[in-house]
Symmetry: C2
Subunit: 476 residues, 2 copies
Amino acid sequence: MTADALNAPTPAFLAALRDRLGPQGLREGDAAAPYLREPRDTSQGQAALVVRPGSVEEVSHIVRACAEARVALVPYSGGTGLVGGQVRPEGPPCVLISVERLNRVRALHPDDDAMICEAGVILADAQAAAASVDRLFPLSIASEGTARIGGVLGTNAGGVNVLRYGMTRDLCLGLEAVLPDGSVFNGLKRLRKDNTGYDLRHLLIGAEGSLGVITAAALRLHPRPAEISAAFVAVPSPAAALELLHLLRGRVGEQVSAFELMQGSGIRFCLDEIPGARCPLDPVPEWSALVEVGGGAGSGAAEALEAALEEAFEKGLALDGALAQSEQQRADFWRLRETIPEANRKIGSIASHDISAPLSEVASFVTAASERLLREAPDIRINAFGHLGDGNLHYNLFPAKGRKREDYANIKPVLTRIVHDLIDAHGGSISAEHGIGRFKTADLVHYGDPAKLAAMRAIKDALDPAGIMNPGAVLG
Amino acid sequence: MTADALNAPTPAFLAALRDRLGPQGLREGDAAAPYLREPRDTSQGQAALVVRPGSVEEVSHIVRACAEARVALVPYSGGTGLVGGQVRPEGPPCVLISVERLNRVRALHPDDDAMICEAGVILADAQAAAASVDRLFPLSIASEGTARIGGVLGTNAGGVNVLRYGMTRDLCLGLEAVLPDGSVFNGLKRLRKDNTGYDLRHLLIGAEGSLGVITAAALRLHPRPAEISAAFVAVPSPAAALELLHLLRGRVGEQVSAFELMQGSGIRFCLDEIPGARCPLDPVPEWSALVEVGGGAGSGAAEALEAALEEAFEKGLALDGALAQSEQQRADFWRLRETIPEANRKIGSIASHDISAPLSEVASFVTAASERLLREAPDIRINAFGHLGDGNLHYNLFPAKGRKREDYANIKPVLTRIVHDLIDAHGGSISAEHGIGRFKTADLVHYGDPAKLAAMRAIKDALDPAGIMNPGAVLG
C-alpha cells in the first residue's frame, strides 16, 4: 500500500474530529504553526488539523477514524527530531497528533527500579520524577528540556550516557501503544524477564511512529550515583582518546558514565558564537575528551578517575587536563559540550552526519574521512564530536570563514556520500542515534540490508495496511 | 495461513535435499532419534529428515526448498529448551534443521567488546572464547554445556546473571539469519548505536524459530570481574531476601552479579537424590540466597559484600551465612544451586512454572500462592527457587513423599491455573525465561494482550506466508 492511496480529510471528517475532541484537543491556524516547523528550518510541514488527545481512548478514536478514512496521521512529541520524522511537507494533508496532553507520571516504583510515564512527559521532568524517589533515569540528550518520552522512544534516542546505561530501548521495560487499527496494546508490565511471544515493544521503539502511537511506557530506573567526577582532558588524537577509554574502563569498569570527544574547531565555534562560553583548557586542544565516572558512596570513583588520568599522562595519552573541583565546574564542562550543537547552528553546517563505527574503527575512519573530504573541498571546516564511548560521532562539515553554506550546495551530496561510504566500509552506521525520518530514507535503501528492508516493508504492510501511520517516514 | 496447508515432503523432495547436503549433512533412522527427544520426556518429536547444513548458503537452500514445497521446518539448536519449541509431535512430517555444524567463532574483537559466533557454537565454548581474550560473555544457564548460541538467541535465554548483564537479547549487537523466504539477513554489525529502521534483531530474538533460522550473532562482551565473591545466606523469608538485595545494591550498585533464592525443600531434594550434594549451612535453611558480587581489581567488591552481610545480620535480614573462602567453595555453592533442576527431575514434578513478577510483588505472591495451593492439595511439596534478583522464580510442585506425579494428574491443570492466575494478578509473566514453545501456546492466548497477539499473527503471516517456520510453536 503506498501513500498515493491516502485521502485528504473531508470537511465532514474534520468536523467530526473537532466535535469529539473539543477546543482543548485542537490547534488550528497560527496556533498550529509551531507543530509544523522543522528544527533546522530545512523543510516546512503541513497538516489539515493538529489534534491533542487527552486520553488513550481519544488516541484510539483518532487512529481508528484515520484508518477508516485513509487519512495520514503524523505523531508529534517534543518536535526536536533532526531527521524530519515529525514533519510531513508533502502528500495529502494529514492529521498531526501531539501527545503533549498525555503528560502524567502515572506511577513511581522505586523498589522495582521502574516508573510509568505517559508519552507527553518531558524528558527532564521524567528525570526529575526519578530523582524524587532517589533513582536515576539516565537518558540524557541536549534537547531534554523539550523532548518528550513518546518521541525519545519512537526514535530510540541515545545521548551521553549510552556507554553505561544503553539506548532508550534498553531503558524501557514495557509499552502502551495504539496500533494502526486503533487497538490498544497494553504492555506496561514492569518486568525484567518476560518471554511471552514476539517483542512488540522493541519493534515499536525506533519505528518513528510508523507502526503506531506510543502512549505510555514502563521505564527502567537505576541507582543514583552518589559520587560523580568529571575531567576535561586534552588528548593527542582520537586514537589516544580510545586508549584512554580502555584504560579507564579497565580501572573503573561499568562506572564510566560518559566519554565525549570534542574537536578544537567545535570548541572554537562556541567561543566565537556563544557569549560567555569558555574552554577549561588554554590553548584550546585540537582534540579533547569529557569524561565522567559515577559510583555509590565510598566507591572511590573520583580517586579512580584521578589515578587513571595520572597513568594516562605518563603514557602520553593525555596532554593537559582539568578535574572538576565542584559541581559548578562539572556543569561548566558539560555546558561547553552541550553548546556545540547551538554554535553549529549559528554557523550553519554544509552537511551533518550522525554516524557510528566499532570502537576499533573510529580512529582510522576519522583520519581517512578528513583526508578524503579535504581533497574534495580543501577549505571546509570539520567538526567531529560526540559520544566516542559508543563509537558515535556527529561528523559535521562547515564553510570556510567568510563563505556560506549555500556556496557548497553543489558539492554537499558528494561530501555526504564520501562520509557515508566510508563509515559503511568501516562496518558502521549512517544513523547512529537520530533515526531515518524523512531525510535519510534514500540512505537506508542505499546502505541497508535488502532482506531487512523487505522484512520491514512486509511488517509495515501487515500492521498498517492502509499506510496511514507517519507515511513517508522510515520507509519513504 | 494455518499449518493445515502444509504438505508432507515427497520422496522427490527428500531425495533432492539428500543429494544437495550429502551424508555429513543428514541424520536418519537411529541417528535421528536424539533430535526428536523432549528433555523431560513429555512428548515425542517426529521428522521426515534431520538436516545438518554446513553453511549459511545451505541453510538458505533448505529454507527456500521448504517454502516452495510448503514443508514444515523445525529449527534445532542444543535441544535443551523446556517448552517443546524444538519438538514437533504432530502434523505433516517436517524437516528438522540442526545448526550444530555452524560452529565457528568467526571473529574476536576484544577492543570492541564483541565477538561473532555461529549459531551452533555451544554456550560454554562461547564463554571460553570470550575468556581467551580476557573478556566475559556473561550469559550463564544450567544447560550451558549443551545449549547452543542459536537456541539461546531464539528463546532469549535468561539465567543467573540477568540482574547485572540482562537477557540474551541485551547481549546481542547484531544477527545473521535466514528469513522464511530463504533470503539472508546480514545484520552482523557490532555497533552500540544503529538507528536504521525496525529492529529485526529483537524481533527474531525470542521468536523461537518461528520467523527464521538464526545462523550467527555479534555478541556483546563485558570486562571480566577480577574480584568475585559469593555468599550463601539463610534468610527468614523471601521478603527479607528482597530487602537484603536492596541493601546490597545500595552498597555495591551494579556489581551484584547474581542473587538466587532457594527453598529448603529444593535443597533437601538435592541431599536426598544427588550423591555427594551438601549444603553449606546446617540445618538446611527454609529460605536461602546465593549472592555473588564482582568488580575490577581493587574494587573492594568482596569487602563490600562482607560489610553488607554484617549489616544484614544486625537488621535480622540474615540468620546464618557462609562467605566463600576459595574458588572451590564458590563453585560448591553454585553446584548445589545448579543441581536443583536435576534433583527435581529425579523426583518428578506435578507441574513446573517459570514465572516472574515485579520485585515488590514477589513476596506477597509466594505467600498467597502456597496458601491457595495447599488449600487445594494439602500434601504437595512446593519448591520455589531461581533468579530472585530479576523477580524470576521457578515455581515447581511435587508429590508428597511416597506418592507419584501421576496421582495428581487430575488436579494438575487446576494447580497450574492457580499459579498463573495469581502471577498474572500480581502483574507478572507466565513465561519469564523459557518461552512459549508448544506447551504454553494456550496460556499465551489466555493471558496475552489481544492487540499484541493480533500483531504477532499479522507479523508471522507477513514474514512466513506459507507458515513453514516451526509451525505450532509460539502462536499454536
